[in-house]
Symmetry: C2
Subunit: 218 residues, 2 copies
DNA sequence: AACAAAATTTAGACAAGACTAAAAATATTT
DNA sequence: AAATATTTTTAGTCTTGTCTAAATTTTGTT
């Protein structure tokens, strides 16, 4: 049996591991999980005992196959619940995270598969992140950061990097919604801000914003 | 903030309190929650500190207004989730309990009201139990135990007393479903078994069964 | 009313998960 | 390569929720 706390650690380690190539540091986990490094050391030992992670003192942590599988399953649940909340219960994309953090820990062999079917097997959550399938396979995507797109190219907005409520509300305010078409009109070299055409309006966005929008060129 | 454990205690106390008229005993709570009396004493003190229950040493426990309100809200969540599982996710009525026990603890101001609306404001759960409304009001019903029904009366099956998986499967096997019409054909005085007509078939049921079926006379 | 039985509470212990402060190992700088 | 800074681990403590065993109160019986 896996505890709620253990699940949260695995999820954090998974996200850190896929960001960075190498073994995840104690400090990085502590920051992500908003705890202290000493607490992480304790928990990581427990996870290693249960064969969820590989751990050598002072050398960082990596997920085992079992650990990765478990983490992906939690992420699958999280994202499916997000789709449910938005599609069926009128939540907006900036409201779903905290509730999904709770729902992702519900344990039922049947529940998630039925939910998946009920939602008609969605492939992406409301923020554009891919939903792992039953076997833990995650579809790769050729999305890039908008900040990397060339001037005068057309692209489609397919996901966010930062899914904080504040950022999502900023996007709503400017009518930037998943699926929108964007034309890159130009970039300023001094502050790396960018001018884009979206929904027939020109808009100037900061580097921070363009770095947190994923697009596909079309 | 209320913990998961505290919520489970409140729910247990609520169910025991509405069964019996008087204050709930430590032992009764321990049995319901499958723990030990000493653990109950500890927890009950904490609940009293937080003004969820009234408690005097050796004198049993009763819910305060705040405690009852909290308990009813948990029961509302439990029953709404049960409806969701049965109506939308193809769970059968004997499969929902364990999952609903987990889902009832999800905290979100918005989630339950939206779920309620999504389910079109159901009044009863899949076992025939009433769903408290937003304000904690529970519809009273004139249901009686089938064992109390007179010979030769007609009635409608509206709820179960025992909602254990085994009992529910027994009912499924004999095609006894919520809403069925039942005619009481006779009772044996020596073992209090009962012969009924249901779905055009006669069936002999034990006292245990007739005691766990709620009906309304029609 | 006194005694036995049952129920309840207290005292002390334990596991999980977190923390602080101090020690140890690794990284970085000069 | 030594000195310093940073990171990580250890040691010891705390809280929550549970337990067992012993003590206490209440209840039931003669």
């Amino acid at each position: 049996m896996i505890t709620l706390s253990e699940e949260n650690y695995l999820k954090a380690i998974y996200h850190l591991e896929t960001g960075e190539g190498r073994a995840v540091s104690t400090n990085a986990i502590a920051e992500k999980i908003e705890s202290k490094a000493s607490s992480v050391t304790d928990m990581v030992k427990k996870l290693a005992d249960k064969d969820f992670v590989n751990y050598k003192k002072y050398q960082g942590v990596s997920l085992t196959k079992k650990g990765r599988h478990t983490a992906i399953n939690i992420i699958r649940k999280h994202r499916l619940w997000e789709v449910f909340l938005v599609d069926k219960l009128n939540f907006s994309w900036d409201e779903v995270h905290d509730v999904a953090e709770q729902l992702e820990h519900i344990k039922s062999p049947k529940l998630i598969d039925e939910l998946d079917a009920f939602l008609e097997f969605p492939t992406h959550d409301p923020h554009g992140d891919p939903i792992p399938d039953k076997n833990g396979v995650i579809s790769k995507s050729d999305k890039i950061k908008l900040s990397k797109a060339e001037t005068n190219t057309y692209c489609k907005f397919v996901g966010v990097n930062d899914s904080s409520s504040d950022f999502l509300k900023y996007l709503d305010k400017h009518h930037i919604a998943l699926g929108c078409e964007i034309k890159v009109l130009g970039k300023e070299s001094f502050d790396e801000s960018m001018t884009i055409l979206i929904e027939d309006k020109t808009l100037n966005i900061s580097k921070t914003v363009s770095n947190n929008l994923f697009v596909k060129t079309i």
